[in-house]
Symmetry: C2
Subunit: 276 residues, 2 copies
Amino acid sequence: LRHLFLGAEGTLGIITAAVLKLFPRPRSVETAFVGLSSPHGALALFNLANERAGGTVTGFELIPRIGLEFAVKHAPGCRDPLSGPHPWYVLIELSSQTWEGLRRTIEEILAAGVEQGLVRDATIAASLDHAKAFWLLRHHIAGTQKYEGGSIKHDVSVPVAAVPDFIVEASAKVEAMIAGCRPCPFGHLGDGNVHFNISQPLSGDRSQFLARWDEVNAAVFAIVERYGGSISAEHGIGVMKRELLARVKDPVALALMRSLKRELDPNGILNPGKVL
Amino acid sequence: LRHLFLGAEGTLGIITAAVLKLFPRPRSVETAFVGLSSPHGALALFNLANERAGGTVTGFELIPRIGLEFAVKHAPGCRDPLSGPHPWYVLIELSSQTWEGLRRTIEEILAAGVEQGLVRDATIAASLDHAKAFWLLRHHIAGTQKYEGGSIKHDVSVPVAAVPDFIVEASAKVEAMIAGCRPCPFGHLGDGNVHFNISQPLSGDRSQFLARWDEVNAAVFAIVERYGGSISAEHGIGVMKRELLARVKDPVALALMRSLKRELDPNGILNPGKVL
């Protein structure tokens, strides 16, 4: 039942016991912050990293320039790790239980990325504090958007190979809908999970912008659907996306979800009102 | 539905499409054949390997001396990779996308195993053919049992940490039940999956031995249950274990399985007669 319960948000049952599989703490972690030209370059670098260090790639976070600017501007202690500006960034983390060789591996990946014209600039964390600073920057992207006015958010996923096209297409779409709006798509490239957030135009009205939430959602979700993606990647359905789910989900799948819900919770007492 | 369908043997639905996630072929593989004193030593070595090379341990097969003898005696081309006899063996395989360092890692694991008194002898494959010969030996254990008369088989799993105790206890139990029977427990230690097979006594009667199948099953399954294991690890329930399942499975779990089956296959047309 494990996968059935993932994302069910407590509507199918209550977890009363769990077995944990423990893994040793990695002995070696290397973290790099990389400047790139495009999300397509980021995907090519992701494939390169997997080819050379598959299994050790424990983080591959895509960040747009605007996301870095938000964090640097509004979050105390955040600074740009690279000397010049770049349109896109990735934060790469490699971890391994073996205690050497990772530094050389990440250097080789970045060198190959430079040779292939993917990497514009890069820095490898020289200390744990240095690595923490990269992650701090990444973590502050979502939170600092609020200082830039209203933002319309999407937590979507598409196949990993489709992430760059999705970002380009969805950004063009929302920019055409709302002149001056500022897309800030970031997230877990290796999982195909994009937080497609859009900040309001610089001098626009907040409530006027937010009033277009549903319309923008619909436009973005239409693109997600075309790529065979999901409108809810890691943040669940809950109440907010419950009605949306009914619109995007295949009727057969939805009927099956309903019948499983009925079977496992005939009295409808488990987290009522959520998901379905 | 992915996990729900695993092990359902086509009784819940038909797979009409699948998405494959591809991984690059490992660039570096190291294979070792190791002689040990006991299954407890094998578990300690498994933990040591995971601690030093977690994520690269792609094979960890436990083999008893009798299993090696069966293969060497009856399978053409099988030979003992070590010069002297040992009570137990493991076949270790490490694989990595990074293209160096693995040889040193496996050497360090084995050296630590020797220092800790776990490893009696070991050999690392010097070529692909050499590694293939190790695996050939492993693959011939099950097949060559037939040349040793009847065998009573179990495909069970217990928590990884309980495998050694299970093997010792179950072997003692069946040896007490049938004097001279020859337990040959082997399998995937890292998954907790033991093929607990028992060959008949050397000079005994085949049909007399096999007549005790159900009785031996019941005794072994009782020990499996005590360790919180499963009577069907990787070979499924099918028809053969259908009645057994009803006996060992929690009634609530069984009722849930039945209701999911009814819901997904109301007319009972999907692989009828299997599992439930």
